[in-house]
Amino acid sequence: MPYLGSAETVKELKRALSNPNVQSDRLRYRSVIVRVIRFMTQGLDMAPLFMEMVKASATVDIVQKKLVYLYMCSYAPLKPDLALLAINTLLKDCADPNPMVRGLALRNMCNLRVPGVSEYAQQPILSGLRDKASYVRRAAVLGCAKMHSLQPDAEIDGAVVNELYGLLRDQDPVVMVNCLRALEEILKKEGGVVINKPIAHHLLNRMKDLDVWGQSEVLTFLLRYRPRCHSELFDILNLLDSFLESGHSGVVAATTRLFLSLGAALPAVQSGVLERARGPLLAACTAQSRELRFVALCHVQQVLRSLPGHFGAHYKKFFCSYSEPSYIKFRKMEILVELVNDENVGMLLEELRGYCTDVSPELAQAAIFAIGRVGQTYSEKCLSILTGLLELKQEQITSAVVQTFRDQVWLRPQCSESVCAAIVGCEEHIQDSEGKQALVWLLGVHGEQIPGAPYVLEEFIDSLKTEQSPAVKLELLTATVRLFLSRPAETQDVLGRLLTFCIEEECDMSVRDRALFCYRLLQCGVEEARRVLGGPKSDPSLGLIAGRPEEPINSWAGDFNTLAPVYSRGDWAALTATTGGSPSLLPQVTGGAAQADPGSVEDAEAVDSAAAAAHSPPDPGEELCLVSGPPLSPELFERRWLALEPSRRVSLGWPGGDCLPETLQAALQLVNIQALALSRLHARPWKAYLYAHCLGTVLLAELLRDPDADGLQVTVKQDPEREEALSSFLTVLKTVIQTLGNSSASLASHD
């Protein structure tokens, strides 16, 4: 918090820093610097002191050095020219006999984030890579990555890359992992660090030496490796098996993910892996810390998407403890619902009923909805519990129960009788609009079974003036007309009043329109109105309420142990869609899964990853601009195609194997390239016609796969001509094709 008089403070500190008396007293000098850092943390602008602080870095005192370095790294981007002054000191320190000083200097030099620093840092980094102290080597390796991130466009230095690959054999495990991390960042454009057989085996053998962070990361890198044969695959599984029992849930999850990906084509292996991982996952669910418990629960939910009964026998582990935070309780309830089976249903419902009276109204409601979902299979038991809850006469509970009733009746018409008996008298305890809507709906649809229905509706209609929610009013209109059709004598008067009010006094247009609609409908005659309004009272095929079907394991295996399970699905979709970016390792990984078996189960994933890869531009600064423009009719396309001259002919490497046209089309669509026509799967020659809009021009393209020629011939035409549009179109197209396939595409121009 910058406070008044900060200019004064800066001046005073400046005086102190340049006071020779202070400078000569090490402790005093240091304490002034500590004050500078303290103000910096509090948000005061300490940039004016840069000169003095740089001078302070020329000291033998390590504590002081560290402090000054911290200051410099924070302010260097603001004062790039002055930062270079500090480099001399840093360079000198890089040659210090003390490895700690060397490492410290190297690390901070690379942290400076000033454009000019890379020329100075190059030499120290190179010698740091060969330093005899691993502390220095660690800093040097990451220094390479830092230099690259400073100038992402600079050409990649092959010598450094080779050196880093060589350092994978370093005896210090952290150096090795740092090498992987650095290579991954440096080679990002080329798809990251290459994990071939010797490297993969080397990494596997070193796993035991690594710390948990290293293990978890190496396991993620190994996702990229495809074993050549089954025996190698099983060797890997055996070798890594012990990591499933690691006490760090991150390592457990990373191992599970790797195993699932290795077994992508072998369902038996996958289910075996999940069987094996059940214990560790359960252990993580009862971990000491709540955040880890939460993460583990999210992963359990992922597993349940494919194997609903997987944790059925262990349902007690998911009972909520009173003191747990609500985010855990919500997750646990969702899981409990999935685990229901004939044996545990009694205990489970009993437990859920306990949550219905929770202090937090949201939790209580969630518990009631959970009971409702169990009720889709075990209807009687749930109904009696829910009816019992009505006796508590609490607002939120009653409202949630009535909403659950509505869904129940819709899915299971046979329980309508008991529901109708139960909801009598509920109207007094419902305040929120969702509950009211549900109650009114029930009264309308099943009014003939509820003796007091017209009078309940009358109460609602009488208090219409104070009703806020238009949704309730809409529901009220429909319900009253419905009830009128089944019990005209009792409802006529109320209906009249309702319609008058809604037509003459209502301001909300949708309500007014609905009222007018009802009025006209009734004018057409009772039979007509009955035909329109009296649809089926139940339709179990409405799958939305009933929940979702099982999904194949591979649909989520790629996301396991990333952020995807932690965020809700909606959030995650929004997150990845708007960034358009591919979350780090994901595309390569899933793309890798697709290459193993192109055109089969992984198609959907391949599409996603292709789109994601194409979406992530090589340089975040450079915006790709393919947009979804107006659709082009085939005739129009043909006319334009014939009229235009080809702007560019390119040959792209075609992935081995065939790619389903649907897959390709879907992938292209995600990046806003429309496919107009595609040949069948095995047609020779195979052709596809595509078009896209970009920067105000239309791009037309023909893909041709000739049996005689190698690769894929791409002809692009453009109207009007724009070079940037053309190149970005080709980049996107190339990425899609590459991601769908596996061979490295060679882009050779034939202008």
């Binding site: 560290k66 490895p99 006490g247 003191s323 609490q394």
Partner: protein, 443 residues
């Protein structure tokens, strides 16, 4: 990888901020976004991972302090949390409790730690013992670093054994071994165990000279759930030696300090290691079977009319009569509309604490196989609120001088071939402490 790490106080003021990568954008924005969206948010925390403007904030709260790790990448969530805990552990090891005052007083040290633990957002070195070499605590002389100290650093940074330095000497070779367990229970009103587990730690303090090799043995019988785990591991019955079978315990899962040779554990189930110097956690384990529940709580709640509640709670201690449990505290929740409480207890002191909505019953000591009871009459104010009282569970705290999991240390041997002291010369201390974790009985 982690883009940045922030520490806030409960008001949302930043105490520490360290940015490792540029991709999390403007430091100010990230810092403020978290304050506005999480710390100052009206509703309770929805998830420990919050996504604000496509940036993920992983946060944990320790007493009044928030620690948040920020990243733009799609990372492994469990790992980030593990890292934050590790960070807390390291800080605790350096300056004790994580509180606002401690953080403010030690902020230079914290910056130093953050600098060593993470580089460019990647965890580098998180072992407290090994870190000590790199951290220049306040007032340490560094320019006069002797040759010896320098060589220590070199051996430390290059050597294979990262957790112990060469040339340690003690006049008295001593070993302290603590088995610390926390027992967790959730029991139904009818006395049925809904869930119970023990999470335990074996903490050692070693003051040994040279590079000793230690071997640790306990009464472990790892019964591998054949169905749950694919490979058939031999149970280690042979390890039990002469002791009878019923004294062995089944450990569900365990992890070791990095010094333990895992390969040996896998093949022979023996725990052998070169210990770090000073205090460290040798192993961590969890058991769920055959747990000795030190206390049983029997609640009886009767509603007498609308304005009165009668509560009777009996606690029974269930362990050897010669042992003494300490610091027993039973917390009986009372409804929000309580107007007065009369308590009668046979032992200890009981008090109604209106601010906590609970009757707190404290007993200093209690021997095994005893039973004690408390009865209370709770007067209620008549209210219009029809909300039924949710009846939170009765929770309990205690400390007992044995391990509720049944774990016993069988031996701890020390071998140091180079120096002339033998296993017998080492003074060893063993202590068992069982504490309550979440120990709840529903009523």
């Amino acid at each position: 990888m982690i883009g940045g790490l922030f520490i806030y106080n409960h008001k949302g003021e930043v105490l520490i901020s360290r940015v490792y990568r540029d991709d999390i954008g403007n430091r100010r924005n990230a810092v403020d976004a978290f304050r506005v969206n999480v710390i100052h948010a009206r509703q309770q925390v929805r998830s420990p991972v919050t996504n604000i403007a496509r940036t993920s904030f992983f946060h944990v709260k320790r007493s009044n302090i928030w620690l948040a790790a920020v990243t733009k990448q799609n990372v492994n969530a469990a790992m980030v949390f593990e890292f934050l805990y590790k960070m807390c552990d390291v800080m605790t090891a350096y300056f004790g409790k994580i509180s606002e005052e401690n953080i403010k007083n030690n902020f230079v040290l914290i910056y130093e730690l953050l600098d060593e633990i993470l580089d460019f957002g990647y965890p580098q070195n998180s072992e407290t013992g090994a870190l000590k070499t790199f951290i220049t605590q306040q007032g340490i002389k560094s320019q006069h670093q002797t040759k010896e100290e320098q060589s220590q650093i070199t051996s430390q940074v290059t050597g294979q054994i990262g957790w112990r330095r060469e040339g340690i000497k003690y006049r008295r070779n001593e070993l302290f071994l603590d088995v610390l367990e926390s027992v967790n229970l959730l029991m139904s009103p009818q006395g049925q165990v809904l869930s119970a587990h023990v999470s335990g730690r074996v903490v050692m303090k070693s003051y040994l000279s040279g590079m000793p090799e230690c071997k640790f043995g306990m009464n472990d019988k790892i019964v591998i759930d054949k169905q749950g785990k694919g490979t058939a591991d031999e149970t280690s019955k042979s390890d039990l030696g002469g002791s009878s079978g019923k004294q062995s315990i089944a450990i569900d899962d365990c992890t070791f300090h990095q010094c333990v040779r895992l390969s040996k554990f896998d093949s022979e189930r023996s725990i052998s290691f070169i210990p770090p110097d000073g205090e460290y956690e040798l192993m961590r384990y969890r058991t769920t079977k055959d747990i000795i529940l030190p206390f049983r709580v029997i609640p009886l709640v009767r509603e007498v009319g609308r304005t009165k509640l009668e509560v009777k709670v009996v606690i029974k201690s269930n362990f050897k009569p010669s042992l003494l449990a300490q610091k027993i505290e039973v917390r009986i929740p009372t409804p929000l509309n309580t107007s007065g409480v009369q308590v009668i207890c046979m032992k200890g002191k009981a008090k109604y604490k209106a601010s906590e909505n609970a009757i707190v019953w404290k007993i200093k000591r209690m021997a095994g196989m005893k039973e004690s009871q408390i009865s209370a009459e709770i007067e209620l104010l008549p209210t219009n609120d029809k909300k039924k009282w949710a009846r939170p569970p009765i929770s309990m705290n205690f400390e007992v001088p044995f391990a509720p999991s049944g774990l016993k240390v069988r031996y701890l041997k020390v071998f140091e071939p180079k120096l002339n002291y033998s296993d017998h010369d080492v003074i060893k201390w063993v202590r068992y402490i069982g504490r309550s974790g979440i120990y709840e009985t529903r009523c």
